[in-house]
Symmetry: C2
DNA sequence: GTTTGACATGTCGAAGTCGACACATGCAGA
DNA sequence: TCTGCATGTGTCGACTTCGACATGTCAAAC
């Protein structure tokens, strides 16, 4: 299961509690790669502990339990990361919508595409500002993952914008045929 | 549900059977936007027919049933497509793996990143060739969706490659600090 | 002292997804 | 003629995910 590996990966970078991990999924990781709520995270950590992939290494106030990856967990993660790159799970509601705009009347599709462009443009602007801001103090620990995700997100938005511009152009061409 | 809308969108472009729709999910649509097997498609079509979103407009050999969108279905699709662009469902195993490479030892991470670059490069090459080939005969019907998807896929692969190049460079820099 | 809000973990049922299994048809080629 | 293959549709159980609900703690502000 991918959730298992996502948790394994996060914990491999730095030990954390279910609460910390849940917040991670609300950041860039959840925005571009994999989503999970706390109702998935907590039970999964218990199952992973039972399988010996992780263990509780610290107990803090408010029942906080900090998990760390065991050597077995690290091995499982490594195995998964080094598998050949095939077709994995893909599920992206926004991209689905982009493709299906074709089903609208040309005028409405064009308007929606302009919406996509604006949305992507905003994403580019926001992440660029974020990057400039981060250049001053290099990230550590799990923040490095956040930086990787943010960089990817930036390129994603650029690709989305370029695609939408192309699609709009393409639509206009077909309209004037 | 997104599956509902995916089917609605495909049928809005062109009436089709569950079998046709399933094949569509095996193409670019399933590769970049949304996956679904026939075991999800057939029951969903029945449910959608019960809700009045689609209807059987033709019965062919081998129990083939061709579905079409009803006006109610078209309205539902339109409503969904014109909703404001927020954060939808995102699930991408490959991207997840890309981010988590950070958890590997620098040497292994670098090797894996070079794998990503090669993989993305292949994707770019393949889709570019596909595009050149398609330039001769413009697509029709559902093929237009395929073209939109392929164009998007091409930009995706480029973004993936660029990201991986950046990440590799970034990794080397941190290694020599 | 109490209220507010972030911290922190959990259950449970409904809904959605997936792989395994199942079965029947029409067509093309050996 | 028969054999294989793509076509075409379906069920079922296991697993995953998600939202709603529930509970308690600690610190700071008021």
């Amino acid at each position: 299961m991918s959730l298992t590996h996502a948790l394994l990966g996060l914990l491999a970078v730095e030990p954390a509690s279910g609460y910390d991990l849940t917040k991670e999924f609300e950041q860039d990781l959840g925005r571009y790669a994999w989503q999970a709520g706390h109702t998935s995270v907590y039970p999964e950590l218990v199952r992973m502990a039972e399988r010996g992939l992780v263990e509780v290494t610290e107990e803090g106030p408010r029942r906080r339990r900090t998990y760390s990856v065991t050597s077995q967990g690290r091995e499982e993660l490594r195995k998964w990361l080094l598998e050949p790159w095939g077709q994995g799970v893909v599920r992206n509601e926004q991209v689905l919508r982009m493709f299906l705009l074709e089903a609208l009347e040309p005028e409405e599709a064009a308007a929606a595409l302009r919406g996509v462009i604006e949305h992507a443009e905003q994403g580019v602007t926001q992440l660029s500002a974020h990057r400039a801001h981060r250049a001053e103090e290099p990230p550590e620990g799990r923040d490095v993952l956040g930086q990787l995700a943010a960089e990817y997100g930036l390129r994603q938005y650029q690709a989305m914008r370029d695609w939408a511009l192309w699609a709009l152009d393409h639509l206009n061409q077909r309209r004037t045929d």
